[in-house]
C-alpha cells in the first residue's frame, strides 16, 4: 500500500503504473474532456503507463487500438461523501470502520480501507472510477479527514490521504447549533493567534499538536474544509468564516442553499449536494428537484453525491440524469460528477487531458440513461471489469441444473 501526500502525487503518477500496462488508443469516440477543449467528436485518446499521453495525435501509435464507434467516452465519475471501502454491510458492526467515538479532526480512516469490498466492483457498474471516502467520526464536530482512492480493487488503490477536513454543523439533536459554530470560530481564532505568536517568538516555538496542525492547514488554505450544513443562516455564517479566515470552504448537504444561491456564488464556494433530495426538513424547507439547476444558474460550482447508504453509490449517474430532467444542462450535470467534484477536493481527476491519469469510461449510450451500461472502463490505464458478486449470483440461479445450485460456480 502506498500512501501519497499531495506533493508526491506527480511522482506517484509515473511510479505506480504497472509494468504490464500497455499503451492503448481509443479512437472514434465522442470525448467529453471536461476541459476547455469541450466535447470532441470522432476523437482519439491515447494512454500509456496509466497516464493520458495524447489527444487526437496526428498518427496513432499504440499497442492496442479500440474503435469506440462514436460512443461516449468520459472521465471516470467520482464518488464522494460516502464510506466506500470502510463499510461492507451497514448493519454488521464488525464490518464498519468509518466512525469512532473519540475521533477528532485528525481521524484518518484510510488505514481501514478495504479494496476487496464487494461494494467496489458493484460501484464500478455506475462508471465510477475513483472516490473520496469520508469518515463519519464521533462526538466531535470534526469528523476527521477524507481520503481519495481508485476503484481498481488493488491493494495500492489509495491515491491520497488527508484530502479534506470534514465538519458537521447545523441542526443538532441535543443542545444548540449556535454552540458548534461558536466553537469552530473560537478554534480558528485561537489557533490563528497561537500561530502568529509562534511566528513572532520563534525561540519558544513548540511543535503544535496534531489537531492544531490540521487547523493550521485550513488557515493556510492548504486543504478544503467540507462543512455539512443545510439551513441558509448556517451557510451564511460559514461564508462569513471563510471570509474572515480565508478558508477553502465547501458546503455539503446544502439543503437550503437555493435561498442564498447568489451569496454562495459570490463567495466562490462549491456545493456538494444530493441532486434528488427534495423532501423538506426544517433546515431545508425550500429544496426541490430544481435546486441544482437554480444553483448552477446562479454560478455556483455544484458537485453531486449520492445520499444515504454507500451501497447505492452506483446510482450517481441516474441522479445526474434526473437533475437534467429538472433543468440542469447535460454538460453541467457531467461536471457535477467529474470535474467539479475533483475541484471541490483539489484532487487530480475528473478530466481527460494529457498528463492526467487514465481513468476513463466508455458508455453504450448517454451516460445518464437507465438503458445505458458501461462498456469498458480503465482505471489508471488498466482495463477493469464491472462484473461483481451480484452477477455470479444471477448466473447461478438462472442456470439449468439438476443439482443443488451450490454446485454451480
Amino acid at each position: 500500500m502506498k500512501l501519497f501526500k499531495a506533493s508526491l502525487l506527480t511522482l506517484a503518477l509515473t511510479s505506480t503504473a504497472s509494468a504490464y500496462a500497455e499503451s492503448i488508443a481509443v479512437t472514434n469516440a465522442t470525448i467529453h474532456t471536461m476541459t476547455e477543449q469541450g466535447v470532441l467528436t470522432n476523437a482519439t485518446v491515447v494512454f500509456d503507463e496509466g497516464v493520458i499521453t495524447a489527444i487526437n495525435p496526428e498518427t496513432v501509435n499504440a499497442d492496442t487500438s479500440i474503435d469506440a464507434g462514436g460512443k461516449t467516452l468520459t472521465p471516470g465519475f467520482i464518488g464522494s461523501m460516502n464510506q466506500l471501502g470502510l463499510v461492507e454491510v451497514s448493519a454488521v458492526s464488525s464490518t464498519r470502520d468509518s466512525s469512532e467515538k473519540k475521533a477528532n479532526i485528525t481521524f484518518d480512516a484510510s488505514a481501514a480501507f478495504n479494496p476487496k469490498s464487494t461494494v467496489i466492483p458493484y460501484t464500478r457498474k455506475g462508471g465510477i472510477t475513483t472516490n473520496i471516502s469520508v469518515p463519519r467520526g464521533g462526538d466531535d464536530m470534526f469528523k476527521g479527514q477524507a481520503f481519495f482512492a481508485d476503484l481498481s480493487g488493488e491493494f495500492d488503490s489509495i491515491r491520497m490521504t488527508d484530502v479534506a477536513v470534514i465538519v458537521d454543523l447545523g441542526a443538532k439533536r441535543k443542545g444548540s447549533r449556535a454552540m458548534e459554530i461558536q466553537k469552530l470560530r473560537h478554534k480558528l481564532q485561537d489557533t490563528k493567534e497561537a500561530l502568529s505568536k509562534a511566528k513572532k517568538d520563534k525561540k519558544d516555538a513548540k511543535k503544535p499538536k496534531r489537531a492544531d496542525q490540521a487547523i493550521n492547514a485550513l488557515l493556510a488554505g492548504e486543504k478544503p474544509m467540507i462543512a455539512y450544513v443545510d439551513r441558509a443562516t448556517d451557510i451564511l455564517a460559514l461564508l462569513a468564516l471563510k471570509k474572515e479566515f480565508s478558508l477553502d470552504l465547501v458546503i455539503a448537504g446544502a439543503g437550503d442553499a437555493v435561498s442564498v444561491a447568489d451569496e454562495i456564488a459570490q463567495a466562490e464556494v462549491p456545493v456538494i449536494m444530493g441532486a434528488i433530495n427534495n423532501l423538506p426538513s426544517f433546515d431545508a424547507l425550500h429544496r426541490t428537484l430544481a435546486s441544482a439547476s437554480t444553483l448552477f444558474d446562479a454560478g455556483v460550482n455544484v458537485a453531486y453525491s449520492v445520499s444515504g447508504d454507500t451501497h447505492n453509490l452506483y446510482m450517481l449517474r441516474f441522479d445526474a440524469g434526473i437533475s437534467v430532467a429538472n433543468g440542469v444542462s447535460k454538460e453541467n450535470a457531467l461536471k457535477a460528477v467529474t470535474a467539479n467534484v475533483a475541484d471541490a477536493f483539489n484532487i487530480d481527476a475528473g478530466r481527460i487531458a494529457v498528463g492526467k491519469k487514465a481513468d476513463l469510461v466508455l458508455w453504450s449510450g448517454d451516460p445518464f440513461e437507465l438503458s445505458t451500461r458501461v462498456e469498458q472502463m480503465w482505471i489508471d490505464g488498466v482495463e477493469t471489469s464491472t462484473l461483481s458478486r451480484q452477477d455470479a449470483l444471477r448466473d447461478r440461479y438462472t442456470a439449468e441444473t439438476n443439482m443443488p445450485r451450490a454446485y454451480v460456480k
Binding site: L279, D309, L370, R394, Y397, T398
Partner: protein, 460 residues
C-alpha cells in the same frame, strides 16, 4: 324409541324446540363492525376526457401506438383509435406515453413523514412483538408533503404500512393519493386491509436486545405460530357463536379481542398478508406457516432473495415486492441481484412487483422498474416496456386486492392514468398529468393542479 311412529317423533321434536325458543329468547346478535373508520373519499371534479395519439401501455401486457384513451364518468371507457365522446376535453398526447396510475404497495408516507420529526414518527408500535391491534391509518398525517411529491411522480394509489420491528406490525391501509385533511378522505373505498408481518433481523434485534422473545429466527417462527394458534381458536369461537346463533341458540359471544380480530380477518380471507421477508429460506417457511394455519401468505416485501425461490412463489400464488438495486445495508440484503424482479416475473402465474419503501424513490417508481428491465435485458431476458409497467400497476393492484378496480387501462376500471412526456423508463421521464378516477390531480405545467401541503404553505 321404536314404539314411536315417525310422525309423532317429528311432532315431539318440534314442540320441544318451540318451547326452547320461547323460554330462551335470543339476545341481539353481537356483530363486529369491520369498517369503523369508513372512507369519505370523493372523486374530485372530473370531465369526460380523451387523450389522443399516445403510446399507451395498458398494464394488461399490451402496447398500443398512436392510441386514444377515453375517460368517461371516472372510468376507463375505451382504449383504441379515433375515439370520440360528447363534450370531451381533448388532450393531444402525440409523442407522449400513457400508463395506468402507478401503485406503490409499500410506503410509509404520512406515518414517517417529512420533515422527519420525533412528534410525527408514528410508523411502528415497537412495544411488543405482536401488535396486530394497531392500524397504520390511525397514524397517517395527511399533510405529509411527500404525498404531493409522490403524486408528481404518477403515484395514484399507495399502501401505508406499519414498520417492521414486530412479528405482527398491525394493519396497513390503502390510500388514494389525493390531497385531504383527513385520512378517511384518502382511504381507498372497499380496499381490503393488509396485515404487516416481518421476518428476520428486525424483530429479533428489536426484542432480543430487550431480552424479550424473539431473539432469534427460531424465536420469530415460534412467535408467529403461537399467535396463529390463538387466532385459530378465536376464529373457532366466533364461528361457533355464529353457527349457534343461526340455529336459534342464545349462546354467549366470545370476548372481543382487537388484536385477534386482525388475525381472524386473515384466516377469514378478508385481510391480506404483507410480509417484510428478504430471504429465500424464510419466505419458504412463511409459506409453510400459512399452510399450517390455513391462510394465504400474501405478498413478500423487500424480497431480495425471491429469485432463489421464484418457482415456489409462483406455484403458491405469492406476490414478491422488490427493489431494483437496494442492498448491503444488512445481511439479509447482501444477496441482491439487479435482475431479481425479472427472474420472479419469468415464471408462469407469477406476481412480480416493484415497490419503494422510500419517500424519495416513490417519486420515480417508473424508473425503478426501468432499471430492472434494462439490466435484465443485458443479461439474457427480453422484457418490453409493456411488461415492465405491470410491476408497478397491475401486479401491484393484485397484491393489494384491488385489481378489479384499478391497475390497468381496461374498460370499466377507475380512470387512474398518467401522461408521461416520454418513455417512462427513461431517466428524463416526467409525469405531466395525473388522473385519479378521471379527475386531474396533477399537472406539471398548471399551478392549479399542484397541491401544497398545509405544512409547506406560507413558509418563509
Amino acid at each position: 324409541m321404536q314404539k314411536f311412529i315417525p310422525s309423532v317423533l317429528v311432532a315431539a321434536i318440534s314442540v320441544s324446540l318451540t318451547a326452547c325458543i320461547q323460554s330462551e329468547k335470543q339476545d341481539e346478535k353481537v356483530e363486529i363492525n369491520k369498517n369503523p373508520y369508513p372512507s369519505t373519499y370523493q372523486v374530485l371534479p372530473q370531465q369526460t376526457t380523451i387523450i389522443r395519439n399516445a403510446t399507451v401501455l395498458t398494464g394488461t401486457g399490451e402496447r398500443l401506438d398512436n392510441a386514444d384513451v377515453l375517460m368517461l364518468d371516472g372510468k376507463i371507457s375505451q382504449v383504441g383509435a379515433s375515439l370520440s365522446a360528447d363534450g370531451a376535453v381533448i388532450i393531444d398526447a402525440k409523442g407522449k406515453w400513457v400508463t395506468p396510475g402507478v401503485i406503490d404497495v409499500h410506503s410509509h408516507l404520512g406515518v414517517y413523514p417529512s420533515p422527519s420529526a420525533e412528534s410525527h414518527s408514528d410508523g411502528n408500535e415497537a412495544t411488543q412483538p405482536n401488535t396486530s391491534e394497531v392500524w397504520a391509518e390511525h397514524s397517517v398525517w395527511p399533510q405529509d408533503p411527500g404525498f404531493n411529491r409522490a403524486r408528481a411522480g404518477g403515484i395514484t394509489t399507495l399502501q401505508i404500512l406499519p414498520g417492521s420491528a414486530n412479528l405482527f406490525g398491525g394493519r396497513g391501509v390503502t390510500l388514494r393519493n389525493v390531497p385531504s385533511h383527513t385520512m378517511q378522505g384518502m382511504k381507498f373505498p372497499d380496499a381490503p386491509y393488509g396485515l404487516k408481518m416481518a421476518c428476520g433481523e428486525n424483530p429479533k434485534r428489536v426484542y432480543g436486545s430487550k431480552k424479550v422473545s424473539p431473539a432469534t429466527r427460531m424465536g420469530n417462527m415460534a412467535g408467529y405460530r403461537m399467535a396463529w394458534a390463538e387466532a385459530v381458536e378465536y376464529k373457532r369461537a366466533w364461528d361457533k357463536y355464529e353457527a349457534d346463533y343461526a340455529e336459534g341458540k342464545n349462546s354467549e359471544a366470545p370476548a372481543r379481542d382487537i388484536e385477534l380480530d386482525t388475525l381472524k380477518g386473515v384466516l377469514d380471507g378478508e385481510i391480506k398478508i404483507h410480509n417484510h421477508c428478504y430471504k429465500a429460506e424464510e419466505m419458504a417457511m412463511m409459506i409453510d406457516l400459512s399452510k399450517e394455519f390455513g391462510y394465504h401468505a400474501g405478498t413478500f416485501h423487500h424480497a431480495i432473495e425471491a429469485y432463489k425461490i421464484a418457482d415456489t412463489l409462483a406455484e403458491n400464488g405469492n406476490c414478491a415486492a422488490m427493489w431494483p438495486d437496494w442492498w448491503g445495508f444488512k445481511m439479509e440484503a447482501y444477496d441482491m441481484i439487479q435482475e431479481n424482479v425479472a427472474v420472479v416475473d419469468s415464471k408462469a402465474n407469477s406476481c412480480a412487483v416493484v415497490h419503494s419503501d422510500s419517500a424519495t424513490t416513490i417519486q420515480r417508481l417508473n424508473q425503478e422498474a426501468g432499471k430492472v428491465m434494462y439490466r435484465a435485458n443485458e443479461n439474457g431476458f427480453d422484457i418490453k416496456p409493456k411488461d415492465a409497467i405491470t410491476w408497478i400497476t397491475a401486479n401491484a393492484a393484485k397484491s393489494l386486492g384491488i385489481e378489479d378496480k384499478t391497475g390497468s387501462l381496461a374498460s370499466g376500471k377507475s380512470a387512474d392514468v398518467v401522461i408521461w412526456n416520454s418513455n417512462p423508463f427513461s431517466v428524463y421521464a416526467q409525469a405531466e398529468q395525473v388522473f385519479i378516477d378521471g379527475a386531474k390531480v396533477y399537472d406539471r405545467f398548471d399551478d392549479k393542479y399542484q397541491a401544497v401541503s398545509d405544512f409547506s404553505l406560507g413558509q418563509q
